[in-house]
Symmetry: C2
Subunit: 216 residues, 2 copies
């Protein structure tokens, strides 16, 4: 029923749909999936629950639309400069730059960040509607990041005895963990600073030359 556009920017009539998605992000962030209610989301949009279900056939459909849309936008944004068109040629240094840039952007939208934090925890349960989404997401992230480090090992920038997959999993853990602490205290916790310090120390330890990162 929701008029799926082929891809890319939306036609004028989809502004309502977009407003629903934005509102749903806030609610899922605050309450997680189960405790959010379509009626309250609809109320904040300014329509009724029945009206909302005209755009998304079910609550689960709404959740997966929110997740998919967010990721797609992020991906497009990360690669919007540096001439990076796809992820298969990124080096470790380029990954670090892109990751810091994305995390800095994320500090401007606490709702979205909290939504991913809450849902990635909830979705560990195999029956959760977003379980498959997060399983695939983590697999893809590990693949992308470990690929970047593998390329930098091959080119001699990084020591050949490091395990790219282990490094990728550790980096993802740091980002996820920092998000939790930042969500609990967005005004005082320096998420970008902590991540920068972590990357700096990591690279100093595993690069062949001992070049660090430019200062924050």
């Amino acid at each position: 029923m929701p008029p799926r556009k082929p891809r890319g920017s939306y036609a004028v009539g989809d502004e309502r749909r977009q407003r629903i998605l934005d509102t749903a992000v806030e609610h899922f962030a605050r309450n997680g999936y189960h405790a959010s209610s379509l009626a309250r989301i609809a109320h904040d949009v300014g329509i009724t629950q029945g009206g909302l279900l005209h755009h998304f056939r079910s609550k689960e459909d709404l959740l997966l639309s929110v997740l998919g849309e967010s990721e797609e936008r992020d991906r497009a944004w990360v690669f919007s400069d540096d001439g990076l068109t796809d992820t298969r040629q990124v080096t470790a240094a380029q990954h670090v730059t892109a990751a810091l840039k994305l995390v800095a952007l994320n500090t401007t939208r606490p709702g979205l960040v909290r939504m991913f934090t809450v849902l990635s925890a909830e979705a560990a349960e195999p029956g959760h509607p977003a379980h498959a989404f997060f399983t695939q997401r983590y697999a893809r992230l590990v693949g992308n990041i470990s690929g970047a480090f593998r390329r930098s090992i091959d080119s001699g920038e990084i020591r050949p005895d490091v395990d790219p997959v282990a490094i990728a999993e550790e980096i993802i853990a740091v980002m996820d963990g920092l998000r939790i602490q930042w969500s609990l205290n967005p005004d005082q916790f320096d998420m970008v600073g902590r991540l920068h310090a972590y990357y700096d120390r990591l690279l100093r330890t595993i690069t062949t030359s001992e070049t660090g990162l430019p200062p924050a």
Copy 2:
């Protein structure tokens, strides 16, 4: 109403209470707080919802009891050997030992681990019943860990230019983040191994002598 024992081990009549707590852990782990229901918890215990509310006056009371009890047990367990009686004399090396020991224990109880992951994310919302609990918990963890590193700086084991609070926050982030990935895939993700590798690299970077960690 629940017969609060002064502290320590429980009298015989509290076995029912303990069974409720154990069952509640599993439910909160699977569904988070909001989506768990007293009736289903009671059903798994083998009593009715009314019977459950005889032991805990409300759902929120049950949640906070579960959180408090778990932490208290963990704390007692961590300090059960090594002669560590309280946290005010722990060094960085002792912290690492204790943390690895606790994480290893945690791999044997996925339910409890998932509960903390889900709730620490959910509880970022100021109105959440466990918000105060997690705020205080993180503050206490940062205090304990940064204290340990500060002592090791004072004694000359760790370089004086490191920021103990920043290190503490990073360590907590790594542990939290590893928990997320492990919860999503408990059988294949090597949580202890990753944490060990992280600590090893961290200590190699910030200790004055370049002694690492004993192998996993």
